[in-house]
Symmetry: C2
Subunit: 692 residues, 2 copies
Amino acid sequence: MSVAARSLPLLVLLALGSAHADEGMWLLNDFPSQAVQKGYRFAPDQAWLDRVRLGALKLGTGCSASLVSSHGLVMTNHHCVRDCVQDLSTPKDDYLAQGFFAPTERDERRCPKLEASQLLAITDVTEQIRAATRGLEGPAFAKARKEEMARIEGACATGPAVRCDVVTLFHGGRYQLYRYRRYQDVRLVFAPEFPMAAFGGYPDNFNFPRYGFDVALLRVYDGDAPASTPDALRWARKPAVEGDLVFVAGHPGGTERVQTVEQLAFQRDVALPWTLLRLAELRGVLLEFSRGNPELYRITRARIRTVENGLKGLRGRYAYLATPAAFEQKRAEDGELRSRVQADPALAARYGPAWEGITRALASERRIHAELRMMETSDAFNSELFEMARLLVRAAEELPKPSEQRLREYSDARLPSLKQRLLRPVPVPKEVERVTLSFGLRRLRDDLGADHPFVQRTLGKDAPEDLARALVDGTRLEEVTVREALWTGGKAAIEASTDPMILLARRVDADARAVRKVFEDEVEGPLAKYGELLHQAHVAVYGTSGYPDGTLTLRLSYGRIAGWEQDGRRVPAMTRFDGLYARSTGTFPFALAPSWLKARSALDPKTPMNVATTNDIIGGNSGSPLLDRNAEVVGLIFDGNLPSLGGDYGYDAATNRAVAVHASAILEALEKVYGAHRVVSEIRGASAAKTR
Amino acid sequence: MSVAARSLPLLVLLALGSAHADEGMWLLNDFPSQAVQKGYRFAPDQAWLDRVRLGALKLGTGCSASLVSSHGLVMTNHHCVRDCVQDLSTPKDDYLAQGFFAPTERDERRCPKLEASQLLAITDVTEQIRAATRGLEGPAFAKARKEEMARIEGACATGPAVRCDVVTLFHGGRYQLYRYRRYQDVRLVFAPEFPMAAFGGYPDNFNFPRYGFDVALLRVYDGDAPASTPDALRWARKPAVEGDLVFVAGHPGGTERVQTVEQLAFQRDVALPWTLLRLAELRGVLLEFSRGNPELYRITRARIRTVENGLKGLRGRYAYLATPAAFEQKRAEDGELRSRVQADPALAARYGPAWEGITRALASERRIHAELRMMETSDAFNSELFEMARLLVRAAEELPKPSEQRLREYSDARLPSLKQRLLRPVPVPKEVERVTLSFGLRRLRDDLGADHPFVQRTLGKDAPEDLARALVDGTRLEEVTVREALWTGGKAAIEASTDPMILLARRVDADARAVRKVFEDEVEGPLAKYGELLHQAHVAVYGTSGYPDGTLTLRLSYGRIAGWEQDGRRVPAMTRFDGLYARSTGTFPFALAPSWLKARSALDPKTPMNVATTNDIIGGNSGSPLLDRNAEVVGLIFDGNLPSLGGDYGYDAATNRAVAVHASAILEALEKVYGAHRVVSEIRGASAAKTR
């Protein structure tokens, strides 16, 4: 135990004993309505919660969304569909630059790789997983757990329109089966100009006051007709104002709030710096690559924004762990829990092994981290064409096996998404592929060293840029028919292929699978096993389970519209259209699109534009609806402020803010900037119809 | 105190009570000859130490060097004179690519900005500084210390050929006046091809086995004739072999081995990540900027190598702090010292304030770090032309003041170096300036935010790249005559100037000076004051002062030629020419220069090429001679292995290795690859003459 643990016992007990005001990414089947009632004199009931669950959607891109008309209309962020808009753009019809609005339903354009899912049912399967893994250790535990999950999902997934995921909650403390209605035909209805969606660019990202119009509309289709979606959320007739109670329903990604201090140190010292340095260098490459050349910029800008968003977001996460007070608080919490477990022989016998088990898993993770990143993630093979090649090579190997024995992403329950990703036609700009693959291969040699056997196997005597050029120029995987032939041809087709990208994917696969297996056996499995113990220890000591860490599954958070104090300065809760116009400089990223310049006189300058709220959200919540106490839409979450980026590790009610586009701004701009009357009536109509 | 401090007391006492075998960057007037005698049965005497002191040189670029003939011939690393070689290169005579050898003395080319210094005398001035600062706190302490240092230096510097530095040792525990013979006319004699000097590029940098020919020869001149240098070191007639005792005399840069754990955490969490992310992004920009365009590559490659070397070196430093065992050892050492101070009321009263004082200083440093980096260092104004502008603007302001009241780098004792840097003609490639300044200004806005007053003052409504282009295209500071006119014209000329770079430097100067003043008063001053206390506490508790942290002042380290164990694998102590040829792939950075391909059959393949030694060195030691027990040259230090990069914080005898070019490789290649017979005879002749 550390100094801090002993000097801060009261504070620590306070912090752990009850969640902070407004903290929490709550399960919809375990929502603290009493706490909300106490703070806000309103308690969502089960019908309210069910309504929100069915109105919320999950996008395959790792974003959230919501149904906003009974006719399949879906609202999300522009940045959640940026890749789709980019895929649909051509030099002539540059929808990312100029925006997109389908004047009629027939003009709505299918997003090639996008799917959306609606959560229909939740079933607890903890006991089934426990039974399958009881008494097992190490690789045997990992294997049994994985196979049981695949079995449960396989039994649930009765067709391509049903998606089933066994989700791990409380780091293995609970397992639940989520059954979704899957929509694979998702079409683009509206997207504003990229410069409006990302107004302020890198400098304004995660800052506030903010002026982003990060909005997009999609429509889910069923049998080539708009899906019937009676569960759509209604649009609020009363605009939200400062102080209002608001809810966010969405899919926060992997937070790490219940971790040992060693796990946090691993993030701070190893994982985050690795990724940050990679993104920083890639940012430099891509900005310079596209500088001064409109066509190269056109094919690179979506990727640049993704890289920049990751870079700034992870810097924020890093900043939290690098703040002595925050980290020492975490050290104190961990030390407190551990010492209370150790003080009680029964607890110590049962939960004591958690810390040592996690320490061992982390030692393995530190050891293999660079190899895992280079061989099995896309760090070295930073190329869509390579990803296709690997997917084809592995599918040929995996699909003949029983579903539960395959690599997890090839299980039957996951095939529909996989096939959509692989076989839908999307443009693959080879100029960008050459640059990103060169970058990845260069870093492979830089980071593992020229003498590493895997580097030798990958590069031979080639320079990274020469190999990248030969691979990208030589492959034909950009053609859907070529991919289809290899997919249906299976192992024989793969073995007969002379496509250089397929040959590379085959050459490196044994090493990649080997390091992945070490990861699963020595890291992932043990962290699940001992994470479960840690969670149980938490419950045993503090008597409450609280909310589970974010896992890209549906959660509900509550809070209110509020500004905050930063460095002694008051940050307001809301911005307005007039502030947007004042901030414009005429040059990127502070240049307004022509449509907004033209519409200026028609717009009400006092229209609220962006709002800050105390809701506890994180990446993955992008595109979530902001709801009032009637479960009606009052905004669209698209960001958090800088302090919210530490939300991976903790929530500070004083400064952590979610950022949303205000519902009034959405309708006002759709009508007066974009003339999108048909969808505005549709949104308003749905509300009117429902509230009759 | 932490767990580690209490569970490792014996280990800690051992580690602190006596330095590890071969550890130490020793002062030449305080060398542990007894310890060397004990370990190696040889003890350098005062004559030996004086000989080495006079044979060693310090280069103005932050490197080390040595005199190797009585005729002013100087040996150092290619990477220490890379900028000079680049400055002398043209598209037609590309000395960096093709190498340089002056067939006669008349062909030797002056390095515009390089100076070399020979340490003539050391005087302790601790009492003078103490007297001047006694009883003072905060800004008053910092001011008095700075002024007394300038006074002492001013009294010592009797002319431009004398250079005087008051150096701070033991973080303020001791102050010494170093008086040097200054050479400002330094000429290039020999440089190999850049691809040979940096063979293996980024991937091989800091790795071993290694095959770098990182060698350069210079000559110091006096009144347009080669300087007479009777103090030159002799070349050893017997080549060094594995196991030999070897010494390194050179100028290790700022190490941080005696620091509180909070100071180390500041490095790990704030300073290093900031610099690493900056370098990573800049690397991406520069590599992509120069890719596929020979002329852009020609003007960028030296900068790229500097950035890459910094990036990899700092990653190594970071890796040390990110290793739990290493950091916990540091935590234990700090905790042990602190608890022993606190356990004794007399010690506690005297030295106890050190920790709190350092904590306060670090809180200030964390607070101002981003602003300091952006406003006062070159992070934002990443441009040689801007640096010239700032130097001119500040000189006009500072020079009229009494020397000791000026900013430290403008004191009389430092003017000769300053003027040389500013007024010597060097090419400034504007294409690179535009790119690096755009990058810096972009990061300025990214990191401080678009609303920061300093960002507003710098950029106004301009985009970073637009402003950078306007500044670089508009300035005329690349012309020496323009700089001279502004230098001699003083304040009136500066105020009348409409040069855009001068205008920018004036516009930002007040803010930059303000944050610098906060840094000096709240960070630098207190860290010197409390660093002194910490050092005294160390001496009081452990009874020995050991060696001071590196400060770019002359030090001597001892060790032996030895390999090491890495991940269970034996790394050899030496490489040979045949290994170099085996490693060649024909493509950068593993492509041999044509001269080496041609000379292959003439070379003895068994010639030792690079050697690893246990000497405790660090950045700044580049170019140091590797000496045997006769104080004769057996090699040329140019690098360390990856574990040595943690040497900023600690030395591990098991893995920390210095890396040198073997003396045999130097002469063999000079003769048979480069036909540099006149310098080989000169080197051999000096030895012969001296040993007659």
